[in-house]
């Protein structure tokens, strides 16, 4: 009887492994092998000239060196700027909306409806959204026509030909697409705060500004940090919106060329070596960011009590 039971346990474990096998097999074939290949090719000269294949010839770190000498850092800067233009309004609006939605005293009606509406833009494919904006803001598009017929502007504004125009359009799109998502995440975080604390603060005569800055913000800090880091990682990989808006050229003057668009332009010539090296750089940066997220989400001292205790101890000594 005892023995039989034990054997049954073992066989359950086996089924567990069989069930996760498909994931690991497909991960191995479709993710790990290409990943290793990418890293390997980054040390090779390997591209296509016409339909002649050149390489792979081992050239050591040359791809990495020439990337550093190229405008890579400028594109990293572009990426950062484009991300910031979208992220700052996104986090501000999301925080405001989240604290309004969960505020019991505001009694917002049709909450469910608003939540759906603000999340909706995220459901549209980024490329479709970019196409839409491209058409809306083209020189003969509806935005220009409306502004002109209202007499706001004398002649059509060429949004796609100024750095400010393209960058703000990209920023607006990223903001519209992601603020709903962030709002819902932050709402969950705020709802996780014990209502006792809010009640206690109210009894102590705390106004809503104080409540937001002194209670809500500090207590949702881990989620905020998580949002920030995931958004940076998403921002690092930004390409679909500017790619479509500028036809892959990063116009004007390559000011809206993001890192991934830079990667794509190497892939146009099937330059696997250079693209591989660039991917490795991106991999390292993302890796560091992921590590930070990991540290934050696995924080063993979330409310600072342990640190305070240590400090106290030291002080007493």
């Amino acid at each position: 009887m005892f023995v039989q039971k034990k054997r049954k346990l073992v066989s359950y474990a086996k089924w567990g492994y069989i069930f996760i096998l498909p994931f690991f097999a497909s991960f191995l074939i479709f993710s790990l092998i290409p990943l290793v290949d990418t890293i390997r090719y980054s040390f090779y000269e390997y591209f296509r000239s016409g339909i002649k294949e050149i390489g792979p010839n081992f050239i050591g770190m040359q791809n990495y060196a020439s990337l550093i000498q190229s405008d890579m850092l400028k594109y990293a800067g572009n990426t950062l700027i484009l991300w910031l233009i979208g992220f700052i309004p996104q986090i501000v609006i999301a925080l405001t909306l989240a604290s309004w939605f969960v505020d019991v005293r505001m009694k917002i009606r049709c909450q469910q409806f608003f939540k759906v509406v603000i999340y909706l833009p995220n459901l549209i494919m980024a490329s479709a959204f970019a196409m839409l904006f491209f058409t809306l803001f083209s020189t003969k598009g509806p935005v220009n026509s409306i502004l002109m017929s209202l007499g706001v502007i004398g002649e059509a504004i060429d949004f796609m030909r100024t750095a400010l125009g393209v960058r703000s359009l990209v920023g607006i799109m990223n903001f519209l697409m992601w603020f709903g998502n962030t709002t819902i995440m932050l709402m969950a975080a705020i709802m996780g705060i014990s209502p006792d604390i809010f009640e206690a603060s109210e009894i102590d005569g705390c106004n809503s500004m104080q409540r937001f800055f002194r209670i809500t913000l500090p207590l949702i800090r881990p989620i905020l940090a998580y949002t920030l880091i995931t958004s940076i990682i998403g921002g690092l990989q930004m390409f679909d919106v500017p790619q479509i808006l500028t036809n892959g050229q990063g116009n004007p003057d390559r000011t809206s060329m993001t890192l991934i668009m830079f990667l794509n332009s190497h892939l146009r010539s099937k330059n696997y070596g250079m693209a591989g090296a660039l991917s490795v750089y991106l991999f390292i940066v993302s890796g560091i960011l992921c590590f930070i997220v990991y540290r934050i989400t696995n924080d063993d001292d979330p409310d600072g009590s342990k640190a305070a205790a240590r400090k106290n101890k030291r002080g007493r000594r």
């Binding site: 089924w15 069989i18 069930f19 096998l21 498909p22 097999a25 497909s26 074939i29 479709f30 591209f47 296509r48 000239s49 016409g50 339909i51 002649k52 294949e53 050149i54 190229s70 405008d71 058409t135 083209s138 020189t139 003969k140 002649e155 059509a156 060429d158 796609m160 030909r161 100024t162 750095a163 036809n247 892959g248 050229q249 116009n251 004007p252 003057d253 390559r254 332009s265 190497h266 146009r268 010539s269 330059n271 250079m274």
Partner: protein, 487 residues
């Protein structure tokens, strides 16, 4: 036990599902290339090949060594309509235009990918590189290439396209009526002709009759031709148009070909890794800047092949003229013109030039050499067919004898041009064309130099930054390029 069995089935189903889904996508790239309507095309192909195996053996005697599927790669509908018009063996074409059936049961699969962003060449290159290992019915049989990148495929070392003589076509006798320069373009570095075209593309100036009447009181091509004789006269003309509120051309990119296709030396000499930017190209930049600042271009249009550019061809636009060869009138202007027929006319361009030309190439390793040869001959070497194409589509076809007659023959008049016979102007343009020397880097150079200098022309950056941007972009596109020389 039942539960166990079920879980095994589920697990394996899941696994095979994941793997099969991806596997089939990877192993058969050719049919998947078929753009939006790929599914239907592939499905019918699969069903037909399965169903036809029985009749296959029967028909095999008639069509010895011939495959059942002819895959034709092209970048737009033009080639399909032309081949359908002239190849008598085609019985019918499916409604979505992806499959045509020949009278012997062979199918033509039209695999059309847009030229934009190099999509067409990416797909074609992929297919050509897998040509040796592909199943017979997936092999590329015939493909189209434009003059901008034909060198890439006619290269003898690459051997992607078969020499026409291997197909059984003797270029000296069978294609004797073709224009000499099209044969030079179609030949590899050893002078072996590997491609053939049905069109020569001398460029002309196509203008709006109503605007001409409004400005000068006449729309007579001879009178207007005097005003567009050369660039100096053209400037005065542009000033007159501007006074009435019209733009001469839609944008700076429209004039590029008159300069860019008259360069003296190729962008890249064969075997070299240095790009030499021709003085003509710099002339284009300086002249365009001058025209741009003077307001002779429509400021809302940036570059070609976009919505604004097409809108500028419509009746509501204020653009006087376009510089186009014959194909431009047929494939670009007619679909975008919304006014009355006969509102446009053709006259001489300020500078003769050749723009484009679609060449047919037989892919090395084709399993349908017989049909491929017939198609190439029918479309590019048959006087009757070339006459028909010229009449039907107002094309300047690649048959000297036909074109010599066409200028004087009223049957070749075009309704879109208000009954004008444009062939005289085409022929004039052709006679003074000095074909620009080609290189396999032409497409990237032409595309990227226009793009880099757009920012300069629009006043966003200075001249030197534009030069630097071009250098960066071209080295990204062609990693083997080591140096860029400016005149």
């Amino acid at each position: 036990m039942k539960k166990k069995l079920l879980s095994v089935v589920l697990a394996s189903a899941m696994m095979t599902g994941t793997l099969a889904g991806c596997g089939s996508g990877g192993s058969s790239p050719a049919p998947a290339d078929n753009g939006g309507s790929a599914e239907t095309g592939t499905e019918t192909a699969a069903a037909d090949t399965a169903g036809d195996t029985a009749s296959d053996t029967a028909g095999a005697d008639a069509q010895a060594n011939q495959g059942k599927v002819i895959n034709i790669y092209s970048f737009n509908d033009e080639l399909r309509t032309r081949i359908t018009a002239v190849y008598p063996a085609i019985e019918n074409t499916s409604e979505d235009g992806t499959v045509s059936t020949l009278n012997d049961g062979t199918e033509i699969h039209w695999i059309i990918n847009p030229n934009q962003d190099g999509v067409y060449q990416d797909k074609l290159d992929e297919a050509l590189m897998n040509q040796a290992s592909a199943a017979d019915d997936d092999k590329v049989d015939l493909f189209a290439a434009e003059i901008d990148y034909i060198v890439k495929y006619t290269d003898a070392d690459v051997d992607a396209a078969m020499p026409l003589s291997d197909l059984g076509i003797n270029p000296d006798t069978d294609l004797a009526d073709q224009y000499e320069f099209t044969k030079t373009v179609a030949s590899d570095q050893n002078g072996v002709q590997r491609a053939s075209t049905w069109q020569a593309c001398p460029g002309v100036l196509v203008y709006r009759r109503d605007i001409a009447k409004d400005v000068w009181g006449t729309d007579d091509p001879v009178e207007i031709g005097k005003k567009t004789a050369d660039w100096a006269t053209m400037k005065t003309t542009a000033e007159e148009l501007k006074a009435k509120g019209y733009y001469t051309f839609s944008c700076y990119a429209d004039t590029f070909r008159t300069y860019g296709n008259n360069i003296a030396s190729p962008w890249v000499e064969s075997g070299s890794t240095t790009i030499k930017v021709d003085q003509k190209v710099i002339d284009w930049v300086t002249d365009s800047k001058e025209w741009m600042d003077a307001g002779y271009f429509d400021p809302t249009v940036s570059g070609q092949w976009n919505a604004e550019w097409f809108t500028a061809m419509s009746s509501s636009a204020k653009v006087f003229a376009y510089l186009f060869p014959a194909w431009g009138i047929d494939t670009q202007m007619i679909p975008n013109w919304d006014g009355e027929e006969g509102s446009w006319a053709v006259t001489n361009a300020p500078l003769s030039y050749n723009w484009g030309g679609t060449y047919l190439l037989a892919a090395t390793g084709t399993d349908n050499p017989g049909h491929v040869k017939d198609i190439i001959m029918a479309l590019t070497g048959d006087k009757e067919n070339l006459t028909k194409v010229a009449k039907e589509y107002t094309e300047f076809t690649n048959a000297q004898s036909v074109m010599q007659d066409a200028a004087a023959n009223d049957e070749f008049a075009s309704a879109f041009l208000g009954g004008q016979n444009p062939y005289g102007y085409f022929a004039d343009s052709l006679s003074s064309i000095k074909m620009a020397p080609l290189s396999s880097y032409d497409q990237g150079c032409v595309e990227l130099i226009q793009n880099a200098f757009t920012d300069y022309l629009k006043g966003q950056i200075d001249f030197d930054t534009a030069k630097a941007n071009f250098e960066i972009a071209i080295k990204e596109r062609y990693p083997e390029i080591t140096e860029i020389q400016w005149p």
